[in-house]
Structure formats: C-alpha cells, structure tokens
Symmetry: C2
Subunit: 333 residues, 2 copies
C-alpha cells in the first residue's frame, strides 16, 4: 500500500514517527507498505520507491529531508500522480469552509484513493457529501482522530457494538473546558484564572472562544450524530451554550450535592452542547483534560469510553484507521 501524508504539523510528524517505530507491525499487515509522499503548505517530498521513514522521522520541516523536496509543489500534484492507495490528511482544522483539507479529500476520493483524516473541518462542513463520494468511488473514509482524540468511538460502535442500536450519545468532548471546569471544581479558582492557566499550558486555541463557547464540542457532536446515528445535521443545528457564565458559586453549590458541572454534548432527538450537572459517581464524570463518551444502546444498555482527547495520543486513532484500511482492502490470497 502506497501512502501519502498531507500536512506535516504535530500529528503528521508524530504519525511518521509511529510508522517508523512500528514498521514491523505494519508490514506484518501489509508487506508492501510505504510512504511515497508527504506534503505541507509549501511543497512536497515524493518518491515512488518509498521515502526513508527514519530520516523523515528526524526532520522538523520537509525541506530538511535533503534532495527530494519540491518547493512550491502542491498536494493536488501528488494526488494526481495516481500512485497513492491511501491519503492521510492532517492539515489544520478550519470549521468555516473545511479548507484546505476538504479539497484534498475530495480530490483523493475522486481518484479512488482511500482517506484517513484527523481533521474535523471537512467532516463538519460536508459530512454527507464526503461519505457519499467515498461510497461512490468504493473508497474507505475513516476519521477516528477527529472526535475525542485517542478515544476510538467510531470503531467501537462499528466493530464492537455491531448488533446494538445506538439510542443516545452523551459526552465530554473538549479537554480544554474539562480542564478549566476541573480546576474550578477541585481548586476553587475562578473561570478567568482557570482559563489563564489553560492558556499558559498551551491547552487553548489562540481564540479561546473555540473551546469555551462550545464550538469545538459542537463540531464533534455534528460528526458523531451524522456518523453513528444516521443524522444529517450541520453545525447550525446544534443548540450551543459555552462555559463563560459558569461561576465558582454554581460549581461549589453543585459540589455540595455531589455533582460536577461539565460541558456536555448530547446527541439525542436534538443536538446540544451546554454545561450540565453530572453526578460525581457517574462514569462520565472524568476530570482534567480527559474526554468521555457515554453511549446508550438497546442491548449493552450503556458503554462509557474514556481517554485522551487531544495531543500525540491521537496518533493511536490515526494508525488504527490506517491499519483498518490495509486489512479491509487487502485482496484475499
């Protein structure tokens, strides 16, 4: 399987490193695995014989990988070469128009290339369009890394709860707000101070609104609803309230009654993101930057899945998707 990686930021680099370190495990699934191209916003590396993963895992910028860098070359060019079987898309998230990821994913699917993405943007903007395009072109489109980082919620439902009907999903899907609310709960700090701390720890986006106003959590709720509950909802359909008005007083009061206040995404009849009281002994009530997803089904009744919602742990989800593509597209011997 010939792989191209689009985007060489944090996730792209960590993924290359995981490919390098786990090459035996990967080749055991697909002996022909190689990374033939990597692009960023300024150019690309390409070698149909396969790039050297060791060298690639030590460079911070593609241009440092000597000899092969084509400055000014576009991602579309390496897609059009027609040699790739799988594209891993890890460009920066843009929830307004999904670009540049959206165009790259479309171009790849049209060319019959399977896609694994860790980028919410394209899926929030064009979920149905992309899944239809994938189906039409007989391609897999997997996106485990887009919701709750390393928490494998999509493959859990698709591979481990195949006979269950999903009735409702409730989750803590944004680690930054969970960090802030946990600081307020445990340390009694104010919202402002906890936000400042989150910023200092590099947990927030430049514009903290993305996290604290529930925008990020709403995007994830949209993807969950469309992917796992067969909805066709858009970002605008989410009823959204952030955590700016959650006061220390409210949290203290809740705490006295053995509740915590958490920013909860609910995918039910309606899709909603808002601060909610969660009993402290409920499995969903996790703290710090952890994410948690509580799935209600007809048979298993309730399954809760907890893990790290961001950071390099996300590579677990992306690598799992890559291995799934390899297994599911392998020709029977």
């Amino acid at each position: 399987m010939n792989v191209i990686i689009v985007g060489f930021g944090f996730i792209g680099r960590k993924l290359v490193r995981a490919f390098y370190k786990k090459i035996d495990l990967i080749r055991n699934v697909d002996a022909s695995f190689k990374v033939i191209g990597v692009s960023d916003s300024k150019g690309y590396l390409y070698d149909s014989k396969g790039l050297d993963l060791e060298r690639l895992s030590y460079v911070k910028r593609l241009s440092e990988y000597s000899g092969k860098y084509r400055e000014g070359g576009s991602t579309e060019e390496i897609i059009e070469k027609g040699e790739a079987d799988l594209m891993v898309e890890a460009t920066p998230t843009n929830i307004n128009d999904g670009e540049p990821g959206l165009s790259f994913i479309k171009a790849a699917l049209k060319k019959g290339i399977h896609v694994v993405t860790s980028n919410k943007g394209p899926l929030v903007v064009a979920f149905k369009e992309l899944t239809s395009l994938a189906e039409k072109n007989d391609c897999l489109l997997l996106y485990e890394g887009t919701v709750a980082g390393a928490v494998p919620v999509f493959s859990l439902v698709r591979k481990c709860l195949q006979g269950d009907i999903i009735r409702r999903i409730v989750g803590i899907l944004n680690g930054t707000t969970n960090y802030i609310l946990s600081r307020m709960y445990f340390e009694g700090t104010s919202f402002e101070l906890a936000l400042k701390e989150a910023r200092e720890r590099g947990l927030t986006e430049r514009d903290p609104s993305y996290d604290v106003d529930g925008i990020d959590a709403a995007c994830k709720a949209v993807i969950l609803a469309n992917a796992l509950m067969n909805r066709n909802v858009k970002f605008e359909d989410v009823k959204r309230t952030g955590i700016r008005r959650v006061t220390q007083e409210a949290i203290s009061l809740a705490k006295k009654s053995k509740f915590a206040i958490k920013l909860i995404s609910t995918i039910d009849k309606h899709i909603e993101v808002s601060p909610k009281l969660v009993p402290i002994n409920h499995p969903l009530c996790v703290h710090g930057t952890l994410n948690a997803i509580h799935i209600e089904t007809d048979l298993a009744r309730e399954i809760t899945l907890i893990g790290h919602g961001a950071g390099e742990e996300t590579v677990s989800a992306v690598l799992n998707d890559v291995l799934t593509v390899m297994k599911e597209t392998a020709s029977p011997i």
Copy 2:
C-alpha cells in the same frame, strides 16, 4: 450461515430473542443466516431448513417447541451432522474442568465449525489448546461475553487499538463484589450485610466464594492475559486475595482520603486480584454492579471502558461476535 446454539439457559434464550428481533440487521450481513439447532442438557431441536425464531423465542424449554424436540439427543450429534457453520456455546460455567463446554468447543473446532462462547470455563482451563485448535482448523473462536459481560474489551483491543502495544490492564471485573464494596462505601453497611443484600438481589452464585474470594475475577484476568497480552498463564498463576477482610473501618478511612476500596484485577508482569485503593476521581472508580477496564498502551496511553458486567446485556457481546464471524468468513463477491 447455519448456526447451532448449545445451552438454552438465560443467555441462550436472550440470544434467540435478539436474533428474532434483529433478523433484518443480521440478514443484511448474511442473507443465509438461520438457526438450525439448539441443544440443552436433555436433548435438542434440529431442522436443517432453520428453526422458527419467533416460536423459539417464546419457549422456556426446548421441549415446548412442538414436534422437533429429540429428547436424550446429545450436542455431539448435532455437531456431527456437519451442517453447522457456527456454534454459539452458552452452557453453565465450570472452572474446574471446563465441561461440558470444553468438549463441545473442541468437537466443533475439529469439525471446522467457528465458535462463539460466553462461557469462561473452557478458556480458563485450556486457552492455548483451544486457540491453537481453532487456528489449525482455520476457525474463528470468539469469546467477548466471557469477560466483563457487555464490555467489549477483546474487540476494542483487536479492532480499535490495532497499532497500540498493551502494557498493562487493570480492571474491576466482578460486579457482585463491586456492588458489595459500593454498598459499604456509600451506605456504611458491613461486609456481611452487603453480602446478604447481594444474595437477596440474586447477584451472587450459590457459593459466594466464587465472587468474594476473587475466583471469578481471577478467571477473567487469566483470559485477558492470555488473549490480549500474549501470556500463557493458568488460574494457579494468579495471586489472589478476596474482599472478606475488607472492613467498614478500612473503607471509611479510605473514603476520608478520597479513595475507594475496589477488588482490582491487575495484568502486568504478575497477575493479581486483590482489594486496592482507587482514587475516587480515577476513571476506573465505578460503582454498583458496573465493570471497568483500564488499558495502558504505548500510543493512546490510557483507555477506560465501562459497562455492565453480567446479565442480559452480555447478549450485546455475543451478538457482536456472531456478526464478526459472519463478516470475516464471508466470501468476497
């Protein structure tokens, strides 16, 4: 796919009901699905054209399904007929010699029949023997229902964490002791009273030792270690301490320091079952009859999976295994 069900107790009957209610979903995966035989300790029903799932889902005993019951007929007979593709084994658990399930599973695998089981006994007694036999005969042997009921830990690791290396597994794997310890923690009751309550609620085996002395949890730890961490351990290898000596005083003291005492199964360098202090804010710290499994890996770092560890929810796990067998053995079109 022709299915036979061995054992028509609680799980067997609930499974038949799930097959009946979800027949469209199942036939969507495998149009040829039918249940051709069901056996219990006294005889069997058999019809190569397929039994009527509606009728079958309304009988409590096989003999009530009029016309087809062969009293005194053995499970071996319906295996030997050679028409089954998959056997679902749900006979009572026997951790001493694994029988009668062990013999049934061996007979089926030798005949090239795939096996799904919810019965710990055979796997505790003969894990390597059975998995080798399955491999030799090119059969699938799946057992999601054997550990933590509806909590799909085996498929989670195999399908959702394919690129991760599992470093350590820590779990609350016995719902009865978790119920007892939770009563002691929340209500301040004594061990004796909590055990009495658990008995009255039908949560314990006739011999409560199975639960309170950690025998059940140790069996599950053995299966997890062998299945997910490539060990070759037996029941005797588990260092085991039950909860009989956990006093109300110890629990109160722990509670003051924000810990709960839980019966924890640890699969690490050594395999151990013993009461341990768990921080009340740790994802593993679930209460009531819930089970929880905390998996430490190299990439995702930590994933916790929580759900119902016994009862009819287990059918979710068994049905998922059945659907997995259908998908993985389907001939490509």
